[in-house]
Amino acid sequence: MSAQSKTKSKAKKSLSGLSNKQLLNAYRLMQTARQMDNKMLTLLKQGKSFFHIGTSGHEAMQIGLGFNMKGGHDYFYPYYRDLTFCLTIGVSPRDVLLQFLSRKDDPASGAHQMPQHFGDDKLHIVSQSSPTGTQYLQAVGCALGSVKAGTDEVVMVSSGEGTTSQGDFHEALNFASREKLPVVFLVEDNHYAISVPSEQQTAGSVYEIAAGYEHLQRFKVDGTDFIKSYETSKEAVKRARDGKGPAIIVADLVRLLPHSSSDNHKKYKSEEQLKHEKERDPIPKFGNLLIDEGFTTQDDLDEIANEVKSEIDEAADWALDQPFPEKSTAMDHLYAMDYEWPELKEPKSTGEKIMMVDAINHALHEEMERDEKVLVFGQDVEDGKGGVFTATKGLSTKFGRERCFNSPLAESTIVGTAVGLATRGFKPVAEIQFGDYIWTAMMQLRNELPTMRYRSNNHWSAPAVIRVPVGGYIHGALYHSQSIEGYFSHLPGLRIAFPSNAADAKGLLKMAIRCPDPVMFLEQKGMYRQQFSGAPEPDKDYLLPFGKARIVREGTDISVITWGAMVQRSVEAARDLESDGISVEIIDIRTLNPLDTEAIFDSVKKTNKVLVAHEDNLTGGFGGEIASRIADECFMWLDGPVRRLGGKDCHIPFNWFLEEEILPQKENILKALRDLAAF
């Protein structure tokens, strides 16, 4: 470091506890970040990449915070403007450029994600997605992980001020403050969310909004002032590390570049405003301070800048020489690749007949007993209630409220914190009280949970289990009856189980908890205590692998492919048809992802006629997918059209006569089977 060795001996020893070396290092980091922005914009113009989003103007604050945290020890959820922060805690320009140029060895995502979506497992930078706002709750889950693991790791999460209008921001502040978690929230307020100014975004200021949360320490700082940013961060991080609770830093700073390479800020910022923002540029501000305080000279600073330039040019040349990913790897790491489902085995022993809800409860007890990393949480899961359907009964009493705990009434919180806990090696088995209420968690479920492994190229994963009571036939009307599997089966990266009896429920849930991929575990709540779904209880070692359908009933004339509540109705219809001499085979698919197409095709090839039946409404239901695959693969074996039966395309009404009309009944199946038989 020639620049530092040349520093004049008359220089002061330190500033705010930072040594001369550290101060010059901060300056070097600022230069690196700024010149990286410039270099990437040049490469973009040369057509070497397709997107850039800048850190320029945010450097001082990010280094100030980064200096107070430890890469590889603490955990980080930096947003897309946090290049400087990432460089500060140990990411190299080469790594950043590999992602920018979408090269195979990009350590953040293996060329799966856009540039500036940071991630580094060794440094504990958790892979970042694009829908900003989702990171808060994951950071909270991650911090919950620190508390549960008894460590002093602090979690950093950041965003711009625009993102604070998202509901997830509030949910995260509330939960972090309820649990006094070691999280530092950094809001980088550059006064513009793309083109929307902060007065159209926030009532008052973000600093004021954060006032209503006890134990949340608030800080306001000029984020263009490195020393102040450093001092503020020091206090916030120390407080979190000492277990005194979360902190929020609202940093007032400037965005010197347009929102991204796709934006032109001259359309909504005046010349005068741009000039004013430039005057607040943190780099000359800090450089002048170092010169004024006698730490360095302008010549030395210029030399640092020159050295940084050559380093970055060299890194870019190197990165440009690195290979692109092979096309054949495009689907890699969507699921855990080194995982094989165990063989399907019959249970070693079976106990007394139990109901489905009790089977689920027993599976949870056994898995919590087996693995202390298993955590159960959701609304009302603690005893005395033990879950509104009693599925979690006894867990908090037996394993303590550290491992089975109530969440606030917020589904995004439940799924978001599950993602955060899962990335820390815990096994969250979270409950959403009703499928009908899952939609507020949709962003976490669509964009976060199933994408973590793929978007980080296997460096991170989020194998949480989300249990959801679903379905109707209980007079629960529009909001306690919904079937949701059609929506979720569309998502790559998410395993889906949907048991139809107590034994399957137990085996599948225990398997789900041991699965390295995220699982949505759907429980038809009308079947929880229904006699038909009761079964002798399998032993505690019984695991039912995903992707193995069950032949519920053998037959020769027509196959019914079904799952969940329609299994019982299909069996009853098949019994009725025996007297007509029609022999019906019933296949319960048990899991939608993976789907046992082999069992389905084998059955269709045997009977030559098929009905696909489900409770969910017909249009866009998962039955459409199954029917289509049968049509593709079994056309030559078919003696009739592939028929589908589902609920009517309508909301589910309360009145029991109306409900009966909308949801498919045994009579509908009978009619469909008779029609097919006659075809």
């Binding site: 209008s165 998202q166 509901g167 921001f169 509030h170 949910e171 509330n174 939960f175 309820r178 006094k180 007065e199 159209q200 975004q201 926030t202 009532a203 008052g204 004021e208 909004i209 954060a210 006032a211 209503g212 949360y213 006890e214 134990h215 609304q379 009302d380 603690e382 005893d383 005395g384 209630k385 509104v388 705990f405 109530n406 606030p408 009434l409 917020a410 995004s412 919180t413 009908d436 209420y437 939609w439 507020t440 007079h475 629960g476 009307a477 529009l478 909001y479 306690h480 395309d649 309508c650 909301h651 009404p653 309360f654 009145n655 029991w656 006569f657 109306l658 009966e660 009309e661 909308i662």
Partner: protein, 341 residues
């Protein structure tokens, strides 16, 4: 009972000493008693029908919440917009909902407001400007802000009032909706009915602040904590907030400290609520408290009380008789109304 009927009743009693409380006349006081008692009686009848197996689905009562539900709604004008929650039978009635219509809804009958399509309190009434809620809590917070935005754009001076539960305060929509209402300075009053429990989850497992009203400070709007079992305090504060909203001064967040004297629903024994808490609640019954006060002021004589109570019993009987006799919807109509007909 209509306002005229109540006035007629009052003419028969002499109230000399009583001046006014919270800007309310003796007539207002009797009206408040009527709505609170009506709410209690109607709900108790519903609970009893539930136990007889005549109500399908869940039954969610507002016992303990009557003073908040009735008192806050009493501050609204007929043209104002009300978005109640599932424990706000009192608000529906005070806004002018028809008893029989409520009973038809609760029993899922064909001629109820949703024609048997949705259950419980998930219904509104356009004619009295009441918006129907859906089951998932929090979703109506931005909706109420939207209704208030419409009044602002149309310059109608209508105020929107929305009830929120303590659990609801945890959901992201709470932040988004209130921030939006504050940014646009909308004429809306949010009343948090903090009944201490969200199903089985107590306040301490929901949030860390001592008062939810503190959240208001962050949005630059007033936040006020009130005793939600005192109907006069509820009325006084909500009236102030409603007037303020009507004058264009923006939203208010009121946290009404109330209590849930029964389970989350009638199928919930609420074993998780400590016995001493239940006993404390029993002693603070808002309807009993109001009766005691009105009697001590000489406003509600035994005779008048008896007359009103009898009338309420008749009205409740008539409403449920109508509903029990009403027919269920035809199955063939089940899929009607998904889109405009």
């Amino acid at each position: 009972m209509t306002q005229t009927e109540i006035s007629n009743l009052l003419e028969k009693v002499k109230i000399e000493e009583f001046q006014s409380i919270a800007g309310l006349t003796a007539e207002d006081c009797i009206t408040l008693y009527y709505y609170m008692r009506l709410t209690r009686s109607f709900e108790m009848r519903l609970a009893s029908l539930y136990r007889q197996g005549k109500v399908v689905g869940g039954v969610y009562l507002g016992t303990g919440n009557e003073a908040t539900s009735v008192g806050a709604t009493y501050a609204l004008k007929p043209e104002d917009i009300l978005a109640p929650m599932h424990r706000d039978t009192g608000a529906h009635f005070t806004k002018g909902a028809d008893l029989a219509s409520m009973a038809l809804q609760l029993l899922g009958r064909a001629n109820g407001p949703t024609g048997g399509k949705d259950n419980g309190s998930h219904h509104g009434d356009k004619s009295i400007n009441t918006l129907g809620m859906i089951s998932h809590l929090g979703t109506m917070i931005p909706v109420a802000a939207g209704a208030a935005l419409a009044s602002k754009i149309k310059k109608t001076k209508q105020v929107a009032m929305h009830f929120i539960g303590d659990g609801t305060s945890s959901i992201g929509d709470f932040h988004e909706g209130i921030n939006f209402a504050a940014v646009l300075n909308l004429p809306v009053v949010y009343v948090i009915e903090n009944n201490q429990y969200a199903y089985s989850t107590p306040n301490s497992k929901q949030f860390r602040s001592s008062w939810l009203a503190k959240r208001a400070v962050g949005y630059g709007i007033p936040g006020i904590v009130i005793d939600g079992t005192d109907v006069f305090e509820v009325y006084r504060v909500t009236k102030w907030a409603v007037d303020r909203a009507r004058e264009g001064k923006g939203p208010t967040l009121i946290e009404s400290q109330t209590m849930r004297m029964r389970g989350h629903s009638e199928h919930d024994a609420a074993d998780y609520v400590p016995e001493e808490v239940k006993q404390k609640w029993e002693k603070k019954d808002p309807v009993d408290e109001l009766v005691e006060r009105l009697q001590s002021w000489g406003v509600l004589t035994d005779g008048l009380k008896k007359q009103i109570d009898n009338q309420i019993n008749d009205e409740v009987d008539a409403a449920f008789d109508t509903a029990l006799e009403a027919s269920a919807p035809e199955g063939s109509t089940a899929a009607e109304g998904v889109f405009a007909g």
